[in-house]
Each structure stands twice: as C-alpha cells, then as structure tokens.
Amino acid sequence: MSLLTTEPIRLLVALVAILGFVGLNAAYLVLAERKGAGRIQNRPGPNEAGYGGWLQPVADVLKLFSKQLIVPPGTDTLLFRLAPLLVLCPAMVGLAVVPFGETLVARDLNVGLLLVFALGSINVLAIMLSGWSSRNKYAIISAARVVSQNVAYEIPMLLVAITVLMVSGTMNLNEIVRQQAGWFWHWNVCRLDLNPLMPVTFVIYFICMLAETNRAPFDMAEAESELVAGAFTEYAGMGFGVFFMAEYANIVLGCCVGVVLFLGGWQSPFGAWSGVGWFLVKLYALIFTVIWVRWTFPRTQFYRLLNLSWKILIPVSLATLVLASAVLKLRPS
C-alpha cells in the first residue's frame, strides 16, 4: 500500500485507471445508448452479440480496428491525424481532477474547476481542426457550426460556473463537494438560501453541457440528415472510433462536473455512508438523462439554437450571477 501511495506510482495508477474508465464507459455507454433508444421506441435494441447484446461493444471495436485508416488525398495529413487525439485528451485530463470519492482523485488540484473548463474548450478547437483538415464541404460547414455553437454555449456555462464558484469560494472540486456535506438540501442545486435561482442554474448547466458535447438536440456537428457525418465525414475506422469515444468521454466529464458542482459529488443524500457509490449513482443518473433527452427531442434549427443561447440562457445566467452576488453581499456572514 505504501508503494502505491508514492507519487509517481500513484499517478501512473491513476492514469491507467482513467484510461480504463474512459474506454469502458465509451464502449458500454454506446450500448446503453442503443439499448435506451430501443426501450424508448419499444424495441429491444442490440441483442445478438452475446447474451442480450452484452458483447456488442467488443464486436464494434473489433470491426473498427480491422478497418483501414484512410487519409484522403489533399487533406492536411498532420492535423487530420492529430484531431481525434486532441478531442479525446482534454476529456481525459479533465477527469484527473474529478473527485470520485473523498480520497479517490488523481490530482487534488486547487484550480481544478479552471482546468476542466480551460481544457474543455480545446474540444471545440479539435473538432474544428478535423473539419478544416478533411478538405470536405460538409466537414467545413460542420466545423463552422461547431465553433459558433460552442462559443455561444461556453458563455452561459462559464457564467453558471462562476455562480457556483462565488457560492463555494473555491476552485478545488473536492473542497466544493466537502461543502455540500449533510442531507440533500445541502447540495448546491437546493441551496435556495444562497441563490434563489440555483435549480435554474443547474438546468442551464445541463443544457450547455449538451450543447458543448454536441449531443442531440444540439448535434449540429454531426447532423446526419444534412451533413453526412459533419466534421467526421472523412474519418474511417478507428479515427472515427476515437471521435466516438471522445463524445462519450466528454459526456462523462460534463456529467462528473455537473455532479460535483450541483449534486454533492460523493456525498450521500442523507448525511451518512458517503462514498464513491453515490458519485457513480448520480453520475449515471445524469448520463441516463442525457440519453433520455437525445431520444426525446428532435434536432433544433441552427438559428433557434443560437437564439436559445443569446436570448435566454445568457441573460438568465447573468441574472443568476447578479442575484448570487447580491445575496452574498447582503447575507450576514
């Protein structure tokens, strides 16, 4: 045990654990997504590979691995090959500061929140690079859409994060969780005494997270019916597979941050037996909601997407920010 806690080895273990966590999640969330979509549409979903379809991800991965990685002529080869990695890496780095349990955190960074959001923006850049370097009309249109969409949704997301930051007064994600100890009304989402609009903030965070990860109903980057596969049109085999993994890794990261900021992280809802289990329960409940939303709502039109952000989310999140600061100033400390 003492060997495990020495710093270089601990980091190595954490790295492997995060790689495994992201890989497994990406593989099995695809299955969960397809199963969930099936259930919502009253059909069983994939059920041929293995008992009840449990080996479907293995079959998918084997298929993707066995395909040729095609780099079309005329592409910017370096950027074309770099883009999938650039999408996946920030999500993995972000997970390094997420506290899964009281001590179960790869790096207990005191600017964890900043790190997550700073690296989260690289995701946009990478998708734009993939679209730009593909030398494909669909991919370029998709890249332009991704940039304008993510710029629009980054703002309310950060405003909401600042609201939580002002309430908690720290950027250390583990410290934010510790402050939410006790019953579930101590979770940030229920702290109406600190900011009467706290549930609204959570909803805004959730919507922005959907938009940032390019999930339906905001999947403009991969609008199948209009843009083939958007920025990923020219990617074959595992290049596409990595983008797919990155999508789910980003969802996991977004939901992790949502759980930490609003739903009390590893704290239990009734003040006892806090631990990793609660974190995972909340995380997967939130991820299920993401899947649920995807199979409920059709894709929005692009101008409506921008209207939603600039006309509703940004003013409301600004209002919550002002309200939170007013409460903070007027409250007797």
């Binding site: 969930g36 259930r39 919502i40 549409q41 009253n42 059909r43 069983p44 059920n47 909803v203 649920w292 939303v293 199979w295 409920t296 709502f297 509703i312 409301v316």
Partner: protein
Amino acid sequence: MKASLLAIPRGFWSLLVGLRVTATQFFKPVVTVPYPRATLPIPPRFRGHIVLTADPATGRPLCTACKLCERACPSDCILVEGARLEGEKKKSVTDYRLDFTRCSLCGACVEACPADAIRFSKNYNLAGTSKEAYVFDLVARLKAEKRNS
C-alpha cells in the same frame, strides 16, 4: 416582452411533457418480434401464392380442369391441363402451372373456381436463384405436401 418572457416557462414545460412521454414508453413492453427466431401468427385471410386443395376422402386434387381459373386470371399466369381417366365421369387435373413472377395475388382464380379446388397458401418467405424457380408445378407440390404430412 411579456409574451416572450412567458414563452420560456411554457417552452420548458413542453420539454418536460415530452420527457414524460418517452419515460412512459421506456417501461412499456417490446413490440417487435426478432424475425427469424420468432414469427407473428399469419392472419387467416393472408394471400400467399395459390395451391391446389386435395379431396380429403381420396387425397387427389379436387380440380376438374375446367380452366375457369385460367380464363379468370388477368395476368395470364395459370396453365391447366386435364384428362378424363378410365371409368370416371369428371376430368381430373394432370398439370397445373402457376407463373408466380406475374401473379399479383388478386384472387380472381380462387373466386372463379366452382369446386373450391384452389386456395391461398401461407408461404411468404420465398427465395430462389432464378426466375424459373417461380414457375410452380402445383400438382407436384400437392403430392409432395401429401408425402410430407
């Protein structure tokens, strides 16, 4: 201003209604059938290609080769040949060919038959490698059916 502000909670409420719809569907039973492993019952009035019916007493086809079906067929896909056997009053069928590539399952032949000698089968998953595989010899089919049963 007021209308556009009211649109926000209203729109949000409609989203929740949508989520409720999918959530209730989520817990409803599966309605699809995994086809090759399970099949739906075929409805009684299903129209497969026609087959000859046998006389339950003798086991021979009921068809008397009157050729009314041949004449009734709008696509000209039926060919009937018959002959009178020794010591019998009626003719009996010797050859009944159905060109299923042209048949549209209209049922005019079944309606025209005075002896109820042809009926719709329940064969739907037909497959073949040549066009000729769909010219069915219905007399041979009836014999094979009798042998199998």
